[in-house]
């Protein structure tokens, strides 16, 4: 199994976190409202564990750079082309688009992103003249990583479905609508992250706490989630438009937010943290 977590990374984070934890628990047990002291220890502990989580570089190969710019355009085009059909009948359109989006995301991950377990510095480095061929290589390990990431993505989809239901999505009806919407969200936002981080718990804790550095993958997640959240806003309005039906606006928010977050995360806000 070539998918190995970057051991050094996670273990160091855990050790440091544990130190910080013990420090803060001693403070907390004193029963006082020790805000200042606790927060300082927390922040030092956090920064130390976070320093190791670096923003993801897009590979510098020609193919990667081309794909990086072409894919958002392809996703946008796909969305715009199928919009009318989506409004007319969401379920088959979302179902049919799913493999296409999956293929696009797979291409994006394989060509542009460093797979989990791959030393991050490798893609960081400027390719030497002789190494050019190797950089663009898609080894069997990366393919397995990608497959594993897609398995994880399908695992996370039911949870997203459930979360949508918690936000007020129809619980007993429209099951396939919500599920497909969740699948799109997972494929767009979670798949690249699974590909990059694997099942590295420290990295996922950072992602979960929204303190990972912004890059194309994490930016996409933030954008996608926020877009999905905002997508619920126009639903109750009594404009009687067809596109207000479930889950068109949510999907629109997901795509818009994801693309915006991915582009901004990859360029303007790259490396920044919340």
């Amino acid at each position: 199994m070539p998918l190995v977590d970057p051991v050094t990374m996670s273990s160091s984070a855990i050790v440091k976190g544990a130190v910080a934890q013990s420090a803060s628990t001693t403070k907390a047990t004193s029963g006082s409202q020790g805000t200042d002291s606790t927060t300082t220890t927390m922040s030092t502990g956090a920064s130390s564990s976070l320093a190791t989580l670096r923003p993801v570089h897009i590979k510098q190969t020609l193919a990667a750079q081309t794909v990086r710019h072409a894919l958002p355009a392809a996703l946008t085009a796909l969305y715009l082309l199928r919009f009318d059909a989506l409004v007319a009948d969401p379920v088959p359109v979302m179902r049919n688009a799913l493999p296409v989006v999956a293929a696009l995301q797979m291409t994006y991950a394989l060509l542009c992103l460093p797979a989990a377990g791959e030393p991050a510095s490798k893609s960081n480095r400027k390719p030497r003249p002789g190494e050019k061929k190797k950089g663009g290589d898609i080894g069997s390990s990366t393919i397995i990583t990608a497959l594993l990431a897609s398995v994880l993505t399908s695992v996370v989809t039911p949870f997203l479905h459930f979360a949508m239901a918690l936000f007020g999505a129809p619980f007993l009806t429209h099951g396939s609508h919500t599920f497909l919407c969740a699948a799109h969200l997972a494929l767009l936002t979670f798949f690249p992250l699974f590909y990059v981080h694997g099942v590295d718990s420290a990295a996922w804790a950072a992602v979960g706490g929204f303190r990972a550095p912004l890059d194309e993958t994490f930016g996409g997640l933030v954008g996608g989630l926020f877009g999905a959240w905002l997508g619920a806003v126009p639903i109750p309005l009594d404009w009687d438009r067809e596109w207000q039906k479930w889950p068109v606006t949510i999907l629109c928010g997901i795509y818009g937010g994801y693309l915006l977050g991915r582009i901004l995360g990859g360029t303007l806000f790259w490396g920044k943290r919340f």
Partner: protein, 1034 residues
Amino acid sequence: MLLLHVVGIAYFTSGFLLTRLMLDDKSVCDAPPTLNTSTTNGIVDILPNWKGKGTVDGGCWHPKTFERAVVVVVDALRYDFTVPVKDDAPFHNAFSFMYDTALASPNNAVLRPFIADPPTSTLQRLKGLTTGTLPTFVDVGNSFAGTAIEEDNLLMQLRDAGKRIVHLGDDTWESLFPGYFQANLSRAYDSFNVWDLHTVDNGVIEHIFPLMKRKGEWDVAIAHLLGVDHAGHRYGPDHPEMAKKLQQMNTFIKDLASNIDDDTLLIVMGDHGMDSKGDHGGESEDEVEAALWMYSPKAVFGRTKPEYVTPPAIAKTRPVNQIDLVPTLALLMGIPIPYNNLGHPIEEAFVGPHGTAWDRLAAAERMAAAGIKRYQTSYFSARGIEQATTPGSPADLWDKAEASVPKDKVKKGHSWEPVFSAYAGYQKETLDYSKSLWARFDVKNMVIGISIMASGVIALLVYINKRTEDDDVLVIEDSELDHAEKSLELQGITADEAQTLEKRLFRAAILGALPGFFGGLLQSYLSGNGDWYRGSSIGAFTSVATVLVALYDAEGAYFNVLPNTLWGWMAVVFTVSQSIGFASNSYTIWEDSIQVFLMTTFGIVTALSAFRMESLPDRYMAIYHSILFVLLGRLASFSKLCREEQMPYCTSTYYASGTSSTSAPWQLVIPFIAVMILPSIIKAYLAPSRSYEGLAPTWIGYVFRAGLFFSAIYWVLDAADNGQWLSSLSSSLSSYLPSSASEALSSLPPLPDKALKTLSVYTAQMILGLALVAGSTAFVWAPPCISIVTTALRRSPADASSNPLAAIPGAQTAQVTVLGYGNAHGARYLLLPLNFFVALSLLTKPMGAGALALTLWQSLSLLEILDLLNLPIGSNPIGPVMLALLGQNAFFKTGHQAVLSSIQWDSAFIPLYSIKYPWSPILVVLNTFAGQILATILVPMLVLWKSGPKRRGILGSVSRALAVFVAFYATEALASMMWAGHLRRHLMLYRVFSPRFMTAAVTLLVVDVVGVLVGLSGVRVNTMSVAEVFGWAD
């Protein structure tokens, strides 16, 4: 602050709600309104005396035409449904009978457009159709139960004249006219089950035809069919179901008309129309244009012009005002016109079959006009307003009309047409004038009200900011100087200052208010306009101003309303987004779903931010509580009551079905589940801090549980009473048992009729007494929920307090452990909300009790989340805002909506047999705002939870938390007020914006009162009790 809100709301209301003074005068049969004018002007009556004049038998004010009347209201019968239209729409050309008869035999039938005065909701329309006045949103003088009409009206006149009235159909009539109808013949059906198109109609049709054969038993029959309206609400007009419904109506009216005899008048009308989606309530053309059809087998009706025989093709031509039905029906039936009537007779009914009886028409018109004149005179004198007498004014037109009547003996062949026109002109002018009088918003008062509210909100925000700084200071000093004796003194000084801040503010508010109030009084006295609340408004303004100045003085002005943390931003976004949402009717209608959405957002964000915590157990606890919070919120959201506008996308689950207001049998189980698990859950929240000690096990484990159990029992008794379970049980028993046993059973004396009600009332009174009286007493006297475990030597509690940690190893003597030390304040205070919870869960229906229990559970989770994420109330407004959201959410989950019709009036009778002031209104308030009240009482928990007895400045922190909490509701009230004022011409004003404003305003007042009375005093008592044991903290 409370007073400020009262003044602001009162001011806005005075400008906003259209009010009409209700006059109690009634018309009397033998005193026609022309009596006085005739003698003063020397005018004889237009008609020669008729036989039986001045009596019901002959006709009080006008010769009687009909003995009986059948009034059929086809709800939402729009005018174009009844006339031929050249298209294939399913709602056109399906109901042609009325048009055909009016065309074929104009002397027997009349069809005309029938224009409603907005608001076009059935309740308001029925008021208009029976009293003849213009409806206003709130008629001053409405009694507590609200709905019964007390003004003079057609049905009252009919009843007083000894007529027997039968009612079939929509039960709105029963609530408007309780006790008016012949109980043995009348059948009322539920009005609001929009999904059911047929029950009401089939019931009416089934019962009305037998009635036609039993003519001796009634004089007036009213049938109200709802199928067309419901088809409109459910499908919209453009649907095959609507066509079917209209065809059914067509057949029904045809059959009915063939069953009518010569002495009976048949009236078919729509009370309003419907818009293109099939809804109504506003003032659009489609909504106000209904149809009116009058029929009699006797040749009665005529036309003043031959071309009027054809009914108008569209509703714009020759419309009849709906209030015109009142004088028409009254004069035709020979009863007096109701006192407050503003309509005038419909000419077809009086002009005679040949269309030439102008004298009769003029007499009827003059009678109605004189009635209007009399009403106007008494209305203006009651209001103290002068009537204008300029040319063209109503008074001037009246004089002219009177002058047009010949003084002496009427010559034969005198043309009465100009006389009729003169009186008709007077009536029209008066009606227009009244409309402008009652449909006018007082923008000035509205603006003043809004600015008072706005300044109140600003003062609150500044105060919150102020306190934030103080609290930050407190917290820092608290942790740093906890062990240093010297600094403790310093700390005490700071705390003192913080305590006195409120006192200073209070003094400043009073000081500011007094001169302003008296100045205002003086000013209004001098100017003599008698506007007493001008003074209070000036008082409110000066009060806010001085408070602001005092705040500014208290410590250098540091004014930063914008938050600086994620949580602060969330609090602001939640509050502001909802407030902006009130500008849109959709967001107001779907507010309950939006609440769930916002709460879930909070839960997810806290779960995510828990990932930032380093301590793994804390992290998992925080995630667990966050997810629990969200899950419970979503679970509670399955209990809902849909408002009419949410149809058809919503299914009510609060009651057994959409049609009933009783609970389904399975819902009765919910309170029992609460009995079983809720005390254990609370115990689980108390146990980790070892606070399930002292009084807590007894109170929570037994008293609280017993209270919940009995309230569950109450609802079972109530259901048994409603469903007559006992009688059905005994009958089913006797069918199973052998004959001897059943004989024995039947020989037992039957239970008295009211036994169950008596039993349930006693149960309810006992629970309320237990929860509120005994509970509060116990709360005042209860010791803190701690217990002191000593292992060798007994020590006094005062000694224990000097040792802040749970256990101190004594040097060689003893070990003293204070269990529950860390949560001494919170655990004890929790008893108070629990007491109220018992009372509130009794007063809400079983489903609501479940929702409230979930809310309580959610609040406890919220406390844990805030504690784990280290979001002290001192610097973060999110806690009170979330609690406010929870309370608001519980309002929707306990079967309420921001509409008047969702008020559960029956809750007034839970512990009482009849309405008793002031208890009944209090009970209804407790039922309606149960969620918000519970949340308000829980606010101090935000501060007290997990805070040990050494915590200083508790009252200050609590009042800050309350201020944030109140600020949330005040902002909502302000926003809904502003939007309602801004959108005062909006279609949905009466259906959406006004009720939302009223809900927000009343909520704010309730929260203010409960917060001050229960919250702050509870904290005071709590602190004193804890301090008694541990010694004063500051």
